[in-house]
Symmetry: C2
Subunit: 419 residues, 2 copies
Amino acid sequence: MDISTYIRSIAADAKDASYKIANANTNIKNKALIEIAKLLLDNKQSLIDANKIDMENAKNKGLEAAMLDRLQLTEKTVDSMAEGLLQIASLPDPVGEMDDFAFRPSGIQVGKMRVPLGVVGIIYESRPNVTADAAALCLKSGNACILRGGSEAINSNLAIAKLIYQGLKHAGLPENAVRLVEQTDRAGVGEMLKLSEYIDVIVPRGGKSLVKRISEEARVPVIKHLDGICHVFIDESADIDKAIAIAINAKTSRYGTCNTMETLLVHQNIATNVLPILADKYCEKGVELRACERALPIIKDKAIPATEEDWYTEYLAPILSIRIVDDLQQAIEHINHYGSHHTDSIVSENYSNTQQFLRQVDSASVMVNASTRFADGFEYGLGAEIGISTDKIHARGPVGLEGLTGQKWIVFGSGQIRG
Amino acid sequence: MDISTYIRSIAADAKDASYKIANANTNIKNKALIEIAKLLLDNKQSLIDANKIDMENAKNKGLEAAMLDRLQLTEKTVDSMAEGLLQIASLPDPVGEMDDFAFRPSGIQVGKMRVPLGVVGIIYESRPNVTADAAALCLKSGNACILRGGSEAINSNLAIAKLIYQGLKHAGLPENAVRLVEQTDRAGVGEMLKLSEYIDVIVPRGGKSLVKRISEEARVPVIKHLDGICHVFIDESADIDKAIAIAINAKTSRYGTCNTMETLLVHQNIATNVLPILADKYCEKGVELRACERALPIIKDKAIPATEEDWYTEYLAPILSIRIVDDLQQAIEHINHYGSHHTDSIVSENYSNTQQFLRQVDSASVMVNASTRFADGFEYGLGAEIGISTDKIHARGPVGLEGLTGQKWIVFGSGQIRG
């Protein structure tokens, strides 16, 4: 079977199964999730063995260390996959929720019901744990899914998928509700991106180049984020202790995450108070500082000049750009212009300024007096996330179970006709 | 200026203006809407004069009668445009609404704020009234918009747009918040569809071929519907009077609308009771009936055989296909397979069957004991609609002001950092 026929047949199977999984009740879906968690733990060694083949192949191909790290399954990662599944089982089921019902003058009563999207295509790279996480989120939200992991993880993914199929069967759910793409030719991804008759949404998870390629090619809606160029703005009225704690945490608690601050904006009237302290702390932690012309004299020995390009850059590394702004308005303009509409935070004690910042910053998450690092499905109470969206339609920010559903209109009538 | 540069410059202007309109308060937006309504009424004759040029050109080009009808502005259509604007002014403003706030274990409080999408591109055909309607919906929902109407309506659209710009200016809003595309080269549409850096969503309004082309080409999210293949299913337990009233109304109250029933499904155990009565009534109204093999003998002289193709067809005409089904399950499968996920209704007195139908029919609107003709922004209480979506992500069904907004996450902290 050629790759195009193969992908179409998988997608058609998933679409069929999607109608069944959409109507499965919560207990049955949870039964499957709990069984899969159990199977993962019971088959830990065989998962790790399958993973060893992938690791071996990857080393022989000379894959870089970071990629090997993402690829590896250990006892600990299998445990946390299983734990993730149990957590998802414990979350409330969004499917079938009804609200906003109101009678209309015609006598009909109109409201909305939350329903699965249908078939979700997940396209990811080397992390095998995504196979279990993504399948579980789709299953709980009543969606069928097509999992297209990287070719370098195929043995690990096959081993995990086998257990997922067993778990689905155990609960009496169609095994086609989760389909792992076993032929990992690159052309298969292109094929998935065209299948709008079968696939309702694509979620790419991986590096920027993967996400960019997918969002450019897709004929199917995509939930994605490209960049996380997050800002903290220290306003004139900021509480200094909060400002320092937040600015340090937002940059240094982890460097490689999308909700890490990449640019620090500081109000001109507070700059000399906070920047020297911050520069010392950043230097202690080995963070390279790139400062605007106005900030440089204040932290001279500790920074190099920032270029225009820096304001557009997601470093994902111990590098921070720093700019002094005239006022709140200039901070907001900087964020909306250079940022990636991901997560931005103001540190301020001024009520009106916080209100204006919340309203005018055009980002998926806008915060007051909190670290940008909180932008995360777990921290927001979603229980888990399939990704973070910087798009403006459908789900914005961390996407959990609700983001994998939509709402249809429900009309209760008693024989009404339209005049 | 070539068309590509022209469209880019318009879109960049609209993006700039979108930040201002997003933060305009409700009173100011309403002031603009009321002023535009007044200007339309005060300049009725000059609008009709401008429209006469378009009508003349269209006649000379040999445009068909239906198109001329859509193009024409009369005193009555101008009055109803003005009335539409006043209605939109009277609707509640969705922008800035906040809800779902909850404290998280970390101490942050997380919720959502409703915000405009940014820049909405409307691509439409010959109806000049869309210029006012669409601009008003975008304005009220805090979005900037780019209006690309058909070249045949350009004089009418220019005349209307001039009044919109005046109204915006009167209220102190940026005129660029509404931009009419004055160069109507076909290539301009293709250009808009690529400008994801400036345009946040495209709403095509027009015939199926326009919508299809746009959704295939767009690199920007599209809110659209392609087909309205709506069904009424008369269940075994249906109240006969309700069933007949609804089946007649859903088909014959208007033939050309997307929420008109195109296929009638009838449970086998009620078919001989309802079909002869319905066939008589449809014939009186001149509706051609195309029936399945089982229905044909019941209404023999009044129907011709339906083909497989009929089940997939949106007639938009006095033609109806009729199929007898074994049971509820077969009705649901028919609808999900052949339908367009627009609007479907069950006529039934059986509680469990209505519940199953509501849950399992995968359409934007699912109804019990009501005519499909109610699927409409006004009937649902949205006040107005910019279109109807059969997509599953973002807005589904009639799209009003709320469908032109999204939700961003808001975090209120008091200095929290992530551990």
